[in-house]
Structure formats: C-alpha cells, structure tokens
Amino acid sequence: MSGMGRQFLRYLRLLGVQVRASVLLALQYRGDFLVDGPLSLLWALTAVSPLLVVYRDRAVLAGWSFGEALFVTGWFLLLTAVVEGTINPSLTAVVDHVRKGTLDFVLMKPADAQFLVSTAKFEPWKMNHVLTSAGIFTWGFVTLGRGPTALGLLQAALLLLTATVLLYSLWILTVSAAFYVVKVDNLTYLFSSLFDAARWPSSFFPGPLRFVFTAIIPLAVLTTFPAEAMLGRLEGRHLLGAMVAAAAFSALARAAWRRSLAQYTSASS
C-alpha cells in the first residue's frame, strides 16, 4: 500500500477511536437522549411555525410555495444537527485548550493537530435532528404531491458535503481567532445569528442582503441550493459554485489555522 493510503487508513482508524470515545460518553448520559428527542421535535415545530405564519394568507412568496419552503427549513434543521453534533462540540473545546494551555498535549501528538482537535468530540444524540428533518422533507413531498428524483438526491448529497465543509471551515476560521483574542464568544454568537438566516430561502431577502448571503457569507449554499436540488430545479452553475466555495473556504481555513498555530508556537519571533 502507498504511503498516502497508509496515512488515510491511519486517520480513519483515529477517527474511529475518537467517535468510539464520544459514543461511550453519550451512552453514559443516556438522559440526554431522552431530553434531546422531544426537544428536537419542539425545535422542528419552532422552525416551521414562522413558515406557517408567513404562508397563512399567501400561496407563494418570492418564488417559493409553502411545500417548497419546507425543504429549506428541513435543510436548516439537518445542518443544525451537523453543526451541533459533529463540528461545534470539538471546536468549542479548542478555545478551552488555548485558554488552559492544554493544546500543548495536542501539538505533541504525531498526528495533524487540526484533525485531532476537529474530531475530539461528537454528540450523537444531536442526530435526533436528522430524523426530524427527514420528517419535514417527507411533509414537503406530500404537500407538493410528488417524490424526489435520483439526480436531485445525488445533487443534494453532494451539497450536504459542501455545506458541511463550508460550516466546518467557517468554524475553523472563528476558532483560529481564539489564538489572538481571549474571548471568542462574541464571534460564535455572530456565527450562530448569521446561520439563523439560513432558515429562509435566499430570495426572501432584499437585493443587497441576498448578495451578501450568497456571495460573501454563503448561506444560500447551505440551505437554499440543497432545497432546490431536492425540488429538482438546481442550476448546474450553483452546484459548481457551491463546490468552489467549499474548496476555497477550506483552503482559507487551513491557512488561518496554520498561521494561528505558528503564532501559538511563536514561529514568527
């Protein structure tokens, strides 16, 4: 096997060990599962209720019917599960590591530090939201009176990957700031508030905001594009744009992380 293949397998094994530790931890706190289930349903209702209000006396808004807008809400819930279950727990711990100085232990390990900190903790119970979002997608298809197409599902799967990479990269950029400023709470709140706007189709926003949420902070890539893919109306250039954005943001995040680590180890002095 080639050196790269061996490395890939090694990191896959490492991921397995880290996931195992998280699952063991989650099983210790099975109460979380019992609480998270109903909470996830409540959260879904909260996420859908603004749609019910908006569509009470109109059938279509900014080109989206109620049934279609449900897909954006479903994707918003699905990505919330991805963020809260796989990205957020590990990366908030990095801020603690930097503050307490325990990042030293991570840096002394013979493996990529970004990989180690990013896979340190998962919260499996947050995957409840995945089931809830699947329920919302079903509701959307039933409302529209049709099912998904194979191409639409394939495009949606690709966009789930690009959205996850984008969200992860945005988080790494935020966490990289933790090396320079002690308090990054404000940045994480800003991140959460911005992400909240992704619950709406991007065309709901007026011109300048729509531009910002598509071209600068790629919220449209996160929820609007995948919803359009599931509805079978995604434009090819949007899929390509999402992939380019994901690649660009991950490269930017990697560069920021490396720069922050160099600052931590005072490579510059």
Binding site: L25, P110, T265
Partner: protein, 332 residues
C-alpha cells in the same frame, strides 16, 4: 541525546502602563518590551541521563522544556534532540518524546483513563501486542488496578497523576520531559511517583529532564542538575558538587539527654536551631571530626547525625548569590 547551544528565546510583550488614561492611550499606540525568557544557554545530555532543571519562578525552565519538546520556536541557537530539530515537529521526533505537566492533564475527563490509553495507542500507532504488554507493565509498576476503568473525574489527584504518567508512556518515549510531575501530591504519592520514574529510566534507558520545586524530587532522581536563573545558566554539574560549592559546611544534628547552654554549642559551630533535647549545628568540613569528638566528650549526646545542608537552602543561597552578582554587575 540532547544538545543545546546558545539557546535564546525572547518574547516581545506589550508594556502595560498603570492608570486608566495610559490604558486608553495604549489602545491606539503600544509600547513593546523584550522579555529574555532564555538568554544564551548551552548544555549536552547523554542518553539515559536524569537531569534536574532548577531555578526560581520565571527562570526559563518551562520555556526551555517547551523548546526541547518542539512546542516553542527558539529565537536563536541550535537545539537537537536525538538528531531532530524539535521545532520541525517531525512525526519521528514526536513519537520519541513526551512532556508530562503536573498542572495540566491530557486524560479525557468524563471517561476512564483506559480510553485515553486507547486513543494514545492509535495516535502513536503502537501495535496491539506491544500496547497490551506496556499497559500490563505500567499497571503493575504504578499499581493502577481498577483505576483505569473508573471515570477520570472520580479519581483523586494522586490517582489521576499516576494515570497521566501511564498515558504519557504508552508509546515508550526515549526522552521524557517532566514539568512539576509531583505538584500537589501528598508525600507518599510523591515517593511512589519518584520510584516509578527512576525505575522507568533504569529499565528503558530513557533520557529524563525534570523540573520541580520539590527538592526531594531532584535529590532522589537527578544525579546532575542544571540551574537556570533569569534565562541564564548558573550551574551545570553534579548535585553533590553543587552542595559542596554553595554550602560546604555539614549539618550536625545532636539529640541531647539533658539541658545544654547555647554558649557550649557556639564553641563547636554555628547554631542553626536549639530546642529541648535537640540541637542543629553548622560545622565547616575541616573542623568536623574535632567538633564531633568535643561534642561527644562534653555534651549529654544520646545520638547524632551528620548531613548536608537541605537542598532548598543550597538552591535558595545559589539564587540569592547570582542575584547579588547581577545587581553588582548592573551597578558597575
């Protein structure tokens, strides 16, 4: 194994002015100052040596350890650990070294230490069979027993520290940096840790650098000490020679069967302490045998011990001497 030549580590830090007005002004224009944490030290350490780093707080001990373990880049100088440049942080280097910090922990807090061991096994790519054997040995030597299967948060500080050491040694590092490994532990646990560290060194031939404020750790573990003060090397040699150089006098502890006058004792040497039934004298090496025979002949001595001055005193005197020398140099 370790060679350090002309090592310097200077940090550029923001000068914090006193007062609100100056603090507001510093938001717009800042003055910086250079802190010389390590300022030109050199030493070599042979494979398998146990070396103690001594120095007051802020002397540069931890900075040096962090440079040796690849966590900090040196500002100047050449540092090699088993042929590697630590700051390059090559995988081969990281697999050979380990840093144990008594004040920080790597164990997963909510899970049993066994999970951290398993994680380290995967990170360090330790073959299963070797891992099982090492863990068995560590469990036996450190008397870990069932501790490894209890959640870390339920362990006492001493139990946690034993597991920390085990986690650090899963990959059998050739070089071990120990930064205050016994801090906060009770006396018996300190002894357990010391015995284990010494045994690990003897059985594996690992090179060991230790920093500790507990002089008993240094005395028990390190035949050689490197003293760093204000970023500079003020002594490098054997512990015995350090004691001889700084405090050549011997301590004579007399256990007395009846009362004695202070004057009688002062005629034998400097009185360090005098209490009912016990007196401690400081006597020059040259006059030791004469003082002992006079004490035995003229005082109600029931028992006596001859010792070196406590290491704490030796080190404290060394620090105050080098401080005085620096002040004199600055004034000249």
């Amino acid at each position: 194994m370790i060679s350090v030549h002309g090592l310097k580590k200077h940090f550029r830090v923001h000068k914090r002015p006193p007062g609100l007005k100056a603090a507001v002004a510093s938001l717009f224009s800042r003055e910086y100052t250079t802190v010389k944490a390590v300022d030109g030290i050199s030493f070599d350490i042979r494979p398998g040596e146990r070396v103690g780093f001594l120095g007051p707080n802020g002397a540069g001990k931890t900075t040096t350890l962090k440079i040796l373990s690849g966590l900090l880049y040196p500002s100047e100088g050449d540092v090699r650990v088993d042929g590697h440049l630590p700051q390059a942080r090559e995988e081969a280097f990281l697999k050979k070294v380990m840093l144990v910090m008594g004040q920080k922990q790597q164990l997963l807090w909510d899970l049993p230490p066994a999970e951290t061991f398993e994680l380290n096994r995967a990170v360090y790519d330790v073959p299963r069979e070797q891992f099982r054997k090492t863990l068995e040995e560590l469990t036996q030597l450190l008397e870990l027993g069932d501790l490894v299967n209890k959640p870390t948060r339920q362990l006492s500080l001493g139990e946690r520290m034993k597991c920390e050491l085990a986690a650090a040694l899963i990959h059998r590092p050739k070089v071990l940096f120990l930064d205050e490994p016994t801090i906060g532990l009770d006396v018996s646990m300190q002894m357990v840790m010391r015995d284990f560290i010494k045994r690990y060194n003897e059985e594996t031939g690992a090179t060991l650098i230790l920093t500790s404020h507990y002089m008993d750790d240094v005395a028990a573990l390190c035949p050689r000490v490197v003293v760093i003060d204000k970023g500079q090397l003020s002594y490098d040699g054997s512990l015995d020679a350090l004691v001889q150089r700084v405090r050549p006098e011997k301590r004579v502890v007399l256990h007395l069967g009846g009362p004695v006058e202070r004057q009688q004792l002062e005629s034998l040497g400097q009185v360090v302490s005098l209490e009912a039934g016990k007196a401690v004298l400081q006597v020059p090496q040259a006059g030791l045998s004469q003082a002992l025979s006079r004490a035995l002949a003229g005082l109600p001595v029931t028992d006596l011990n001859v010792e070196n001055a406590p290491l704490e005193e030796v080190v404290s005197e060394l620090f105050s001497r080098s401080r005085a020398a620096r002040e004199a140099e600055a004034q000249a």
